[in-house]
Symmetry: C2
Subunit: 221 residues, 2 copies
């Protein structure tokens, strides 16, 4: 059988989300590099895999997918019997996991990815200063999201339920980048959020993602 | 058993998304009105149901949820054996449905809800003019999304697969409002998108949502 292919970049958050899921499932895959600095993701052949021109695109045999959160769900369901079980099957437990997956996408990541762009990508990749108004606005939003998380994590070991699931995993890439910025203070001020992040970022499946990212950011000369 | 409760507003897009799903399943529910004009959704008791202060919130017995797309998935899974089957169960079919559900949330609705705000809500509810720069930017984005849909609908009867599913249903509220604005031109210019919208907006479950919305917008004197 043809191996699973991930077309993307080892330092893109959405690609990292998919690779983390594959690692949790102990699945082999081929990372087909897409050079975002030269705009490869906006041209053929990539846009035939994803017409929206965003990494990653994904292939498993004849199945072609894009949208990182659809890919992670597919991997979790299709390979449910191997590696870490990343989803819940009882409809009510599944609903709670789904709620927190939506919160990640619509609250955490909308604020978090703007902060990551202004505080990390713009200065480090383009030598430009971040927009202070955008930073302030999204800091306030993210702080409110983290207050909700702090409360949730007083009731449950993980966001999605009593065990680690996609609802937690989806946060990893953006959270990992934000921990390298001044936003770390927002996490540090909330003990349960801090403990949760320390737990999920130390998972072996995730540390392998970071190794791959670091190689991509600092290739051997 | 206590009836299903939807705390929300019959003219809010996210509330309409949930009610459409309940109607497809022929489920009885109680709509507990939340008056957004007086900011009830930002105060207790509502924010105990959704700390993010957005309608709707949802109760089914002891299960409490928010985030409209998590609620629709719960209804579709929990009540899978009644009314319209709204999800796919084969992992590959499910993955394709999930991909288009993500496209709705991250591409269609991000552009569409900004256009709805500028072109309908601002002028009609607040007597203010829409921001032309925001309108132009999001018209370009939505046109690109609809080009992708036009191609998809040449390969498949519905976005999520060969039958109507949540991937289509999630579009209904924002699309319905946009059809009342100048954005209708963007839909009209694409024959497969036009036929798809005519099909899904004529579903009896949806026309009941519109009746309820019209009553809320124009209460009898």
């Amino acid at each position: 059988m043809a191996p699973i292919k991930v077309h993307g970049s080892a330092y893109s958050t959405a690609t990292m989300r998919v690779i983390a899921t594959l690692n949790e499932k102990n699945l082999d895959f081929e990372l087909v590099p897409v050079d975002m600095r030269t705009g490869e993701h906006k041209k053929e052949p990539f846009i035939s895999l994803n017409p929206f021109g965003q990494v990653p695109a994904f292939e498993d045999g004849d199945l072609k997918l894009y949208e990182s959160r659809a890919i992670t769900k597919y991997i979790a369901n299709q390979y449910s019997d191997q590696g870490t079980d990343l989803v819940f099957r009882d409809p009510k437990e599944q609903a709670i996991e789904s709620l927190w997956t939506e919160v990640e996408a619509h609250h955490f990541d909308t604020a978090g990815s703007k902060l990551n762009w202004e505080l990390a990508v713009k200065p480090k990749m383009f030598g430009a200063e971040g927009d202070q108004a955008v930073i302030e606005e999204n800091k306030v939003k993210l702080a409110k999201v983290l207050d909700v998380y702090e409360k949730r994590l007083s009731e449950s070991n993980y966001l999605g339920g009593d065990r680690f699931s996609l609802a937690d995993l989806h946060h990893l890439p953006t959270a990992e980048y934000l921990l390298l910025t001044s936003i770390k203070e927002l996490f540090d001020a909330r003990p349960r959020v801090t403990a949760w992040l320390a737990d999920i970022t130390s998972r072996p499946a995730w540390t392998k993602v970071i190794e791959l990212r670091n190689q991509a950011l600092n290739p051997p000369k």
